[in-house]
């Protein structure tokens, strides 16, 4: 007998090779390694390909074709993760991208390529979608670069971060999150990574612009134009211009008022008057107390989402509402046309539900920061806190108390922002006995 039966196995060492075979199959993983490829933003793609009226064929085949068109255009404009393309109009530096892109490798002693995949992609993902393999286990989630929004920067709220802002975050990491410091990398490497983040962001915004254009301007089987005029002048140029303009969009920094001495602790007698003014503003015109709470433990208005999570929450609501309505609709007396429309819509809703389940992280609320802990994500220097207060935090619910743009009027004066900074810096040390001596001010156990 050539093939041993199972009953024979128990008596023969031949069982060992069988198990080894299975084990090797397991270790080999899931097939050959494919070259890395960018993933479409399927949430936005599905949202913008909602069926409208009569399609000549199934929604899924129509939507796939549109999505493939966008993928192809993006590859033409930006290349692949292994071979990025920097069109002249993108303002991106091809040499820096080469250093950051592709698999980790070294062709010259002492120089390493593939920095993004070595250091970043396991959290931020190959496509910069903030959905790398580790992303789901982190809180907060890694940043999704594709909407082109960044929190910790020196510019006006609606402006992009400067190069120095991106480099600062890479260099220092983000305290209180999983983002580590990359201070041990050479400055040229950090620079290359900052360029690659810009590349992924510009690519992501271009993708969103293409899908939105298609939703707004195309119907049926219309194809996206692939001309220079459209792709470069109309789509890419405005995005690139915003990045270029960031370097001139820094907010003004007011002089530190007399009586404020940041070289001393926030609650030092030298700062006492300023801290008292800051405290009054915190509870008054600054409005900080509304979300950060009277205790500053971050226990005010606390059931909100940031823009990245809100997009998923809102899409999920739309889908859930649509599915419920479609379940409640009786199809028995529908005309054939209405029935076809109903079925197409149901197909889209189910596909969207699947995409939200598989291609998005479960939305999480963003709690206001506990200011008693002394952990400041955007940096702990007084200047960093001043910037967070002045413009608020882009993408987060945190509003600004400074003017919304050049020439605007702030909720408080620029000098007053420094007093609030001073008060915030005193919060981890402040103790006025109101909470009771048995309760720690730094409520680390408050979750």
């Amino acid at each position: 007998m050539i093939t041993p039966s199972v009953s024979n196995l128990r008596h023969r060492p031949a069982a060992v090779p069988v198990v080894l075979c299975l084990a090797s199959l397991f270790m080999a993983g899931c097939g050959r390694t494919q070259p890395a490829s960018f993933r479409l933003n399927t949430v936005h793609a599905t949202k913008t390909t909602a069926p409208e009226g009569d399609l000549e064929r199934s929604w899924s085949s129509w939507s796939r074709e549109r999505q493939q068109q966008v993928a192809t255009i993006l590859e033409a404009m930006f290349g692949t993760p292994d071979d990025p393309v920097a069109l002249a109009e993108s303002g991106l530096d091809a040499a820096k991208l080469q250093l950051a892109a592709g698999p980790v490798r070294s062709d010259i002693v002492g120089r390493k390529n593939g920095l993004y995949r070595e250091h970043c992609s396991h959290c931020h993902g190959i496509s910069g979608d903030g959905m790398g393999p580790t992303a789901a286990f982190l809180n907060p989630y890694p940043r999704d670069y594709r909407p082109g929004k960044f929190k910790f920067k020196s510019t006006w709220r609606d402006a992009k971060p400067t190069n120095a802002d991106l480099v600062r975050v890479l260099h220092q990491g983000i305290a209180g999150t999983s983002m580590p410091s990359f201070a041990l990398l050479a400055p040229s490497q950090v620079d290359a990574l900052a360029e690659y983040v810009r590349y992924l962001s510009i690519r992501g915004e271009t993708e969103a612009a293409l899908f939105t254009y298609a939703e707004q301007e195309l119907s049926g089987d219309d194809q996206l134009p692939t001309t220079r005029e459209f792709l470069i002048d109309e789509v890419l140029a405005p995005i690139v211009e915003k990045w270029r303009a960031a370097e001139d969009a820094e907010i003004p920094i007011a002089a530190v008022p007399a009586g404020v001495d940041f070289s001393r602790p926030g609650d030092d007698p030298a700062n006492r008057e300023s801290v008292a003014r800051g405290r009054a503003l915190f509870h008054g015109d600054g409005g900080c107390v509304k979300c950060h709470g009277v205790t500053a433990l971050g226990d005010g208005q606390a059931n909100d989402y940031d823009d990245w999570n809100k997009a998923i929450v809102e899409a999920s609501k739309e889908v859930a509402g649509g599915l419920e309505a479609s379940r409640e609709t009786s199809t028995s007396d529908m005309s054939p046309d209405r029935l076809a429309e109903y079925r197409t819509r149901a197909e889209w809703l189910h596909a969207f539900a699947e995409v939200l389940e598989g291609d998005a992280l479960r939305p999480r609320m963003i709690p206001p920061r506990n200011l008693r802990q002394g952990v400041y994500r955007g940096g702990r220097r007084p200047l960093d806190l001043y910037r967070r207060l002045y413009t608020g935090i882009n993408g987060a619910p945190m509003p600004g108390v400074g003017p919304s743009g050049p020439g605007g009027k702030g909720s408080v004066s620029d000098a007053e922002i420094w007093h609030i900074v001073n008060y915030i810096r005193s919060l981890p040390y402040e103790f006025d006995g109101e909470l009771g001596a048995d309760r720690p001010m730094v409520a680390r156990d408050r979750f």
């Binding site: 008596h11 033409a76 709220r157 609606d158 002048d233 509304k290 909100d304 605007g408 909720s411």
Partner: protein
């Protein structure tokens, strides 16, 4: 020597490991066609010597006209839900109880309020942008304008008439500033919106309004009785109008009507060419029950 139970366990574990695959199931997104991408790229990097031949739209016609109509809702709007007020309860909702305003239908006339009608593209604009600030106010923890219309470049006077602080967060503009109790600020919007965007207050999550900023200002919002009118429209050119409602079930808020005579599309658009000094009345525009989520 391996016993049968061990073998079964080993086989089961191996099978499980293989079946478990490689992590969570992501959908199969379409991928690029590399050959087609290369061709497109050639066109993009080719010397940009060829000047753009796409000329500006030829301006046709002269004079101005107006368009009006009335939206009615064919479905049953139900009762508006009371909002849950759980912040600053000593102020919010004290003047009057607060209700969800996203679907306002006049009980007597069935008129549908807060439908936004705007021109997608026009070649001429009659009136320059006003320098007079438009007031956008909030009181009783409610935005006073459910749907607010302004032109790009026109200053907005964003006020807070409440004795508590609010932050005004205008989606699509990056304006999110704290407005202290009884104070205000000015804001000059510089970006046009393709569709109305939500205005919220993060401190009081029930607060919601919509805002649309357009360059040409050819926007109307239907009144409580469902009527709307846009004046000073350029005559003699085909105008495409977009129709939007917050609770629409169409794509991006588009309101689809069965009006083939106006070329009304599922994207919520219709086309009209107006004659000089014409005052066109579209009459009653019935919004079917399914077009608005109730």
């Amino acid at each position: 020597m391996m016993t049968s139970s061990r073998l079964v366990v080993a086989l089961a574990l191996s099978a499980l490991a293989v079946a478990a695959g490689c992590g969570p199931q992501r959908t199969s997104a379409p991928v690029a066609d590399a050959a087609a991408a290369a061709t497109i790229r050639e066109g993009l990097v080719a010397a940009s010597s060829a000047p753009s031949v796409a000329g500006e739209d030829v301006v046709a016609g002269s004079g101005w006209a107006s368009l009006k109509g009335r939206f009615v809702f064919a479905g049953d709007p139900g009762q508006p839900a009371a909002l849950m007020i759980d912040k600053d309860t000593e102020v919010c909702g004290k003047v009057a109880k607060l209700f969800d305003r996203s679907l306002r239908v006049d009980a007597a006339t069935k008129g549908l309020a807060d439908v936004v009608v705007f021109v997608r593209k026009s070649s001429r604009v009659k009136n320059p942008v006003s320098e007079t600030p438009l007031v956008f106010d909030q009181k009783n923890c409610e935005f006073l304008s459910p749907v607010f219309v302004a032109r790009v470049g026109q200053p907005l006077d964003i006020r807070n008439s409440d004795p508590v602080g609010h932050n005004t967060n205008i989606d699509g503009t990056s304006f999110n500033q704290l407005i202290p109790a009884g104070q205000g600020t000015t804001y000059k919007p510089d970006t046009e919106m393709g569709v109305p965007k939500a205005v919220t207050c993060n401190i009081h999550p029930w607060m919601k309004a919509y805002m649309i900023l357009r360059k040409d200002g050819y926007v109307a919002v239907s009144a409580t009785d469902g009527t709307f009118e846009i004046a000073d429209l350029p005559a003699g050119e085909p105008l495409e109008f977009q129709v939007w409602h917050a609770r629409s079930t169409g794509p991006s808020g588009a309101v689809g009507l069965q009006r083939p005579d106006l070329n009304w599309t599922p994207k919520g658009r219709f086309q009209v060419t107006l004659q000089a000094d014409e005052s066109k009345d579209l009459g009653t525009l019935e919004v079917p029950a399914g077009a608005i989520g109730t």
